[in-house]
Symmetry: C2
Subunit: 570 residues, 2 copies
């Protein structure tokens, strides 16, 4: 596959993050050896891509539309930054700096037609911004900004490119400008379109360019895109991409549960995008969604033992239909071991191993706790804090301030799903209006030795969909904390399509299973089966206790039904 250099790159990036948390000389040695091989593969001019170097050097940069050269470069660049950050070793960073210089020479030369070239699969934009942030390399920023600005110019560069070559990777047809977000200049974009992974990778780079160049127009476009995704085109699981046709966004409020795409990578990308938006404005409208995408779609992408993976994360699978009907063949009812296109598994690795990067932020005098996770964090601004929590199953989060200076603040997100919450500071209960509460974050003045404890709501709650989503008409979902719950056939007599659930959450019973998974028993009814397809009289309904479990844990016990949304039994 033309994009397989990226698999090695994402593995290296994950290794970089992992080594920062758990030093492992054996692993580091392997990574160093891989980097040595990469060094040998680099051409003298800085070009680096094994597919073209081995197969056909003359075809370099002649098929930006399909060939993923910039995509692979982007992933290797991210690996270089991560590996340098954790190990201090510069080899890969030097390789990639040289590679960026090469790309700069190819794409920033105004006299070349390639000056109008853009990545067919966006990714390098966000990676170039990482290099800029790490090293201050101006060419890297310029190139990222250039790719962002060039996208959407009509006619598409890809149409020109097609006329200049006689080879194809997949023989794709006429250029669909929506597919690669080339339908409109990005700073004028209002709607998230096309291939969902490409979209959110692109918007991540775009947001970082906006942040670092203080480009208000671009920032506003990013905000419109974020709102369009999260208020009109996203699943309750933080999944995005409503169709397998182009693995893409479709239109507002088109959110089918059983034929969606919801690629694991796309939800990783949504997290990346959200984290860049948080740099520009601290608002839980970003971090709430990041949390939703992480604990639901991203984690569902991997089997419990870490050995099998979902690419597509459906919200409903009924074996016999899901995976079988011609419209549902992309829906796998069970996690396959691997994929020819193995983009998702290493995306989970690198995201899980760099969770802290998304959980925290900082500025000169404040640290921001966007997501909750135990650990001790040393910030560049000098603040050191220790966080202790059993989140997402425990709802108490304790922060111990181990180092802080004058005028330092701790800003903690209160998630919008938490109906109420309690705060204690140094064991004294505090009214919620005592401190600044802005855009969902509470700002605590801190000094060394402070202990701040947040207690969030631990009760299961019901989520109602917008009445504008046709596919969810009359349905409700059960959640607890950030976790979306589902029912599986194996727990519910293999007949979950006839279940209705009660909205009386007071009767819901939260229980912990042996394997640490918290389930919820929900009262409801089951419509009795009959032979007829349509009944002109009221069928029988039987009372049932419905066992629901976290969506991320579904599909770990063989072929079975699964469903998140259920009709309401009042």
């Amino acid at each position: 596959m033309v994009f397989q250099d990226s698999d090695a790159a994402k593995w290296l990036e994950a290794v970089g993050y992992a080594l920062a948390i758990f030093p492992d000389p054996e692993l580091e040695k392997t990574a160093d050896e891989v980097i040595d091989i990469i060094q040998k593969a680099q051409d003298k001019d800085g070009y680096l891509n094994t597919f073209f170097t081995i197969k056909d050097q003359d075809k370099r940069w002649t098929n930006l539309w399909e060939a993923h050269e910039l995509y692979c470069a982007g992933h290797m660049l991210e690996a270089a930054c991560a590996y340098y950050e954790s190990t201090g070793k510069k080899t890969l960073l030097d390789i990639m700096t040289k590679n960026v210089e090469h790309m700069y020479s190819v794409f920033m030369d105004e006299s070349s037609p390639k000056y109008n070239g853009i990545p067919g699969h966006p990714e390098v934009e966000l990676a170039l911004m990482k290099l800029y942030t790490l090293t201050g390399m101006k060419e890297s920023l310029e190139l990222a900004k250039h790719f962002v600005d060039k996208r959407g110019i009509q006619p598409s560069y890809f149409e020109y490119e097609q006329t200049q070559r006689n080879w194809w990777v997949w023989g794709m047809g006429p250029v669909d400008t929506l597919y690669h977000q080339g339908n409109v200049l990005l700073r004028e974009a209002n709607e998230a379109v096309g291939h969902a992974v490409r979209a959110v990778y692109l918007y991540t780079g775009m947001a970082e360019v906006a942040a670092q160049t203080n480009d208000k127009e671009l920032k506003e476009a990013c905000k419109r895109l974020w709102d369009n995704i999260t208020k009109k085109r996203m699943y309750i699981t933080g999944g995005i991409g409503s169709t397998n046709n182009g693995e893409a966004f479709t239109v507002d409020y088109d959110l089918p549960n059983d034929t969606c795409y919801c690629e694991t990578c796309a939800s990783c990308g949504l997290l990346f995008f959200g984290s860049r938006m948080l740099e520009m404005e601290v608002d839980r409208k970003y971090s709430d969604i990041m949390e939703k995408a992480f604990y639901n779609t991203v984690l569902a992408g991997m089997q419990k033992d870490g050995k099998k993976f979902f690419y597509v994360n459906p919200l409903e699978v009924i074996p016999g239909i899901g995976g079988t009907a011609v419209t549902h063949r992309h829906i796998k009812p069970q996690r396959p071991s691997w994929y020819a296109c193995a983009c998702c598994p290493p995306n989970i690795s690198r995201l899980v191993s760099s969770f802290a990067k998304y959980a925290y932020g900082e500025n000169k005098n404040t640290v921001f706790c966007h997501l909750y996770a135990s650990g001790t964090i040393k910030f560049d601004n000098g603040i050191i804090l220790k966080c202790s929590t059993e989140y997402p199953y425990g709802f108490t989060i304790e922060y111990n301030i181990e180092s802080a200076s004058e005028n330092n603040y701790l800003a903690v997100r209160i998630p919008s799903w938490s109906k109420d919450w309690n705060i204690t500071k140094n064991d004294v209960k505090i009214g919620t209006n005592k401190f600044k509460f802005e855009n969902g974050y509470i700002y605590f003045p801190i000094v060394k030795g402070d202990k701040i404890v947040i207690e969030l709501s631990s009760e299961p709650y019901i989520v109602y969909p917008s009445p504008k989503i046709p596919d969810l008409s009359g349905q409700i979902a059960v959640c607890r904390g950030p976790i979306v719950y589902c029912a599986e056939g194996v727990d519910n007599k293999e007949e979950i399509t006839g279940l209705f659930i009660s909205k009386n959450t007071g009767l819901y019973k939260v229980q912990e299973l042996e394997d640490g998974i918290v389930t919820i028993v929900v009262p409801g009814v089951r419509q009795e089966n009959t032979e007829d397809l349509y009944l002109a009289q009221e069928p029988n309904f039987i009372e049932e206790k419905i066992l629901m479990r976290p969506y991320y844990s579904w599909g770990n016990r063989g072929l079975t039904q699964m469903k998140i949304w259920f009709p309401l039994n009042k």
Copy 2:
């Protein structure tokens, strides 16, 4: 288009039926002129197909897979039978008898590879059976039976055929045996598969072969196929075909409302199939469905003024999604004026103009009233009856026996949707157990002068879907008589996706509009819109009176939302 001879054929067939009801010398003259042209187009050996005769005579019968020659012959054969029956004119019948002799020589020659050939688009089977019934021509029966018996033999004839030619109509790929019902020998078939129109046309011919040859094994297969369709793969509207991918059946219980196909022609074909099953066994399980398909999908296929047509008959259209999303482009939110493939409009014409053929049946001493329609009918067995009714909006059906002999019976269907019914014979109310009531039909002994009046239930009723249909989870539909009701945006504030309906039919208000359409006002609630896609607290519900109208009348007032199934507001 390769199949356009069939458009002329279906028009001629409809003219034949129309002339039997309303004599019209002008129309008959036009039809005679068309038949003269057809006569001139026939080759000396009996071959008749303008596409190949004009374009390339050498390619005759070399692409049964795509070229529709047998399909066109079948439709012309049906026209010949209809035109002869109503006018007594034999020209077209002679042309087609010669054509059948030609086809017999091509396909019944055991020494030819074409002996294994079958129609890519079934239709000629049922037409050959019509000719046999009308004229007793044995070759016609033999050829029909041959085509039925040959289907499903592996490897497919079409694979062989592909190796023998170097031309294509559409360049279709590898033969998908499901698409043309070639996956299994028909007498072993358990599931209705593939292109829905092809399927029901084929099953119609198959049932007629089974009936006329008294082939019990084939009859059992027909019954299994009927049950599979009507108990697992059919919409409440009598629509069939769950996907536009192959315009096809998919799998059991996969019945999406908004991405279905539900071609008008397929529901016409379901009626044809049902009527042939009724010849073998009188049971309302056939006629109830025929009625459902006719009053809902078939009639919805045509605009109120008869000038525009639906090909695809969705059960839900939300403009912005329906017709727009890549998965919904085959769904037209409004009836187009015409289609490049104009199979559906003349199918409605020929079905409506031959309604009596489906409404009635007879044997030696009994007439069967399967469907209700005013008119006087003279049966071959000598019985003459007059039926008076305003059905489907009036629920009183009066039969006056104008002629009958000893031991004559009138068998009238009582539809399964009618909760109760009243019978009077010669103005005396009669208990329902007074006469034989078998498979949904009441058998009245009759003599000349008898007056039998049936009163069916006129109350609106709620239909519950099988709990096995995932897409209808928690939804209900409103019906009255055979008519399925829908709500349109134009009557309901253009926000019908947030509506819930009450199941208390006692509060439903039936009202007649000026244009003769009976609407129902249904109490319900509307979920208020909010900006969020998912709400962690209960939204507001506002009481509403929901105006519902017959599904067949939808889409006559510009672009608007439409939906049949609604969640229940208890």
